[in-house]
């Protein structure tokens, strides 16, 4: 891309980010956008470990959560004394970041001694330990109810109080841009490059003069810093932080985001954070089986695109540049209908099973779809769903081999084009 086009793209993206809260004005949409922004920072920070340093962490929520608690304490203190007002809120994520950084430095000494499975296990242990310690110190972590505060206090900043959700959204966007820029810049520093080296081959890193443990420790601490920023923003956004924030659920979620988005590209986790947050929030509005669908989707990605969505984008990039994708689009179009049918059948079966098994409120076995009443106790909907699934699946298998074959041709042509 020429510098001119990337500048225009960046400007357009910025305009979109700023316009979003005026397009989606409902409270629900706005809070979803805020959540996505926070998740983006968190997932990018996670990928500093997984994608860049090769460290699979099962306890990254610790840095997010401890950052959030640090920010919350300062918020409560500032709110009580009225110090700083809206200024304090603007800078609060930095406090969260420093909390995460400190936690990373301290815990990292223990966790980064080893890489691979051992690091993963230790990170899990440390995460569980911190999460289980939290309830023992209600003064610090607020016990079961957590800690809450009011983000509106003191003097406003140019009329901004951070009362309205939209103002918080802009704060999150600003911090997300700064944090993403910082993390991107970090990949291009000596430490960032040696993190890649340690990921690829920690032993060789030693023989070029670097201590892999030190590289891992610094990356963990810096990753904790950015996770802490995300935590600080979440303290502002929700005005409450509970001990659960530190727990395994949060850690698992960020792993899923990074993995689904793709850890091999810098932008991968951004896609993952936006998508997973959307699925988690929006899907749960429509179906009780959302977690099941989510699991299915994750399984599908792991099996078919272990490099995440970003790897699929990368796959299309070179053929696209050479104008070869026009050979693929018709194949995709042909596959679209069978895909839709298979999905419809699958969703039908899953929903029917959920109704029968009492996944919904007891006894409620019928529901409305497109104005049509569907009763899970009758055989017709079952037959239709199974038929859709079987026929769609069979059809899809046929068309998909066409897609795969065409892809081989396109990749061959692309390779030839690249050599030229």
């Amino acid at each position: 891309m020429k510098p001119g086009t990337s500048l225009i793209a960046a400007a357009l993206a910025l305009i979109c980010l700023l316009a979003l809260p005026y397009v989606f004005t409902q409270g629900f949409a706005l809070s979803l956008l805020c959540q996505m922004g926070i998740a983006t920072i968190f997932a990018l920070s996670y990928n500093m470990l997984l994608g860049q340093t090769g460290l699979l962490s099962f306890g990254h929520a610790v840095y997010f959560g401890l950052g959030a608690f640090c920010a919350m304490h300062v918020l409560r203190w500032a709110g009580g004394t009225g110090i700083g007002g809206a200024w304090a809120v603007v800078l609060l994520p930095l406090i969260g970041g420093l909390g995460g950084l400190l936690a990373g430095l301290i815990l990292g000494v223990v966790t980064t001694r080893r890489a691979g499975t051992i690091f993963a296990m230790i990170s899990l242990g440390v995460g569980e330990m911190v999460a289980s310690i939290a309830p023992m110190f209600p003064a610090l972590f607020g016990g079961e109810a957590g800690l809450s505060a009011n983000r509106v206090f003191g003097a406003p900043l140019f009329g901004i109080t951070f009362g309205p959700q939209r103002q918080v959204y802009f704060l999150i966007v600003a911090w997300a841009l700064v944090a993403a820029w910082g993390m991107r810049a970090l990949t291009r520093t000596p430490l960032g490059r040696m993190a890649n080296a340690v990921r690829d081959n920690p032993e060789r890193a030693q023989f070029v003069g670097y201590n892999p443990q030190m590289v891992r420790l610094l990356m963990l601490a810096l990753s904790g810093f950015f996770a802490g920023i995300a935590g600080g923003l979440s303290a502002i956004n929700y005005e409450i932080v509970t001990g659960e924030t530190l727990g395994a659920n949060t850690s698992a979620l960020v792993l899923l985001m990074a993995f689904i988005g793709g850890v091999g590209q810098f932008y991968g986790p951004i896609i993952g954070a936006v998508l997973v947050t959307f699925l988690q929030t929006a899907l749960s509005q429509y179906t009780h089986a959302w977690l099941f669908y989510f699991g299915l989707f994750f399984l599908f990605m792991v099996l078919n695109a272990p490099g995440g969505i970003a790897s699929l984008i990368q796959l299309h990039r070179d053929p696209w540049r050479q104008g070869l994708l026009r050979w693929i689009w018709p194949q995709y179009a042909l596959a679209a209908l069978p895909v839709a049918l298979t999905l419809a059948g699958l969703i039908g079966v899953v929903e029917l099973i959920y109704r029968i098994a009492g996944g919904v409120e007891a006894g409620e076995t019928s529901w409305k779809l497109f104005g049509q009443a569907i009763d899970a106790t009758r055989w017709q909907p079952w037959a239709l769903a199974l038929l859709l699934l079987a026929a769609g699946g069979a059809w899809l298998e046929k068309t998909w081999s066409g897609v795969a074959w065409q892809w081989q041709m396109v990749l061959l042509a692309t390779a030839r084009g690249n050599d030229r």
Binding site: A185, L186, R188, T189, P190, L191, G192, R193, M194, N196, A197, R199, D200, N201, E203, R204, A205, Q206, F207, V208, G209, Y210, N211, M214, V215, L218, L222
Partner: protein, 265 residues
Amino acid sequence: MSTSPVLPPALRLADVHKSFGKTAIIRGVDLDLIEGERHALIGPNGAGKSTLFNLISGRLHATAGTIQLRGADITRATPQAINRMGLARSFQVTNLFHRMTVFENLRCGALWSRGVGYTFWRRVDTLREANARADEVLEAIGLTRRRAVVAGELTYAEQRALEIGVTIACGAGVILLDEPTAGMSRSESDAAVALIKKVTIGKTLILVEHDMDVVFGIADRVSVLVYGEVIATGTPDAIHANIRVQEAYLGTDLAKGIDKELTGA
């Protein structure tokens, strides 16, 4: 009165032992490398040549004995500490940063010696010295056209060349090369010899090598390691004449190789 400063050997091994469990693999090695010499270490498979390199470079620690680098004790030092003191090594089994490009591999090799450390507040592209060094080595190992290729996608010979490149990128004064030409064709191996000679000018080199053409083409001195002991050290010609070496290798390819080389057959 002042004592005249005696230049310590580039590398000194004194009665070095290494056992894995009960098995003694290195059994009392004494070896001095003179500053600036090119030294070949030969010996049958399993003699302990790679193990000896591992001991010198800090990958393993000796069970007994001492190792000194220019007079400084490195017997218990970590690999990174030894590298920072000016010793670099290559590996018998290619050991690269396989998902990074050729250029990135070389630059990683050059970073520490340019005093960059763990810097995370400067862009690596703006470090002129490290980048210049990486490009210089890139040219020396003949991979300029493969600059942006990921190391894992190189051909075997190219990976071997990069292995040497990463080793020398830091500009260490003492260089250990473990079978740099293993598995190469004749012409590739000739190119590798020329490369090794070129990049080790003014350095102290010790290399493990099976190919006698390479040994006689490069080495000023040769040491023979058999069952964890150095049974002979001397010029290539003297080694050939050494009867114990003949015994150790009688009937082996290596002995035939030495014969062939010296008789010009």
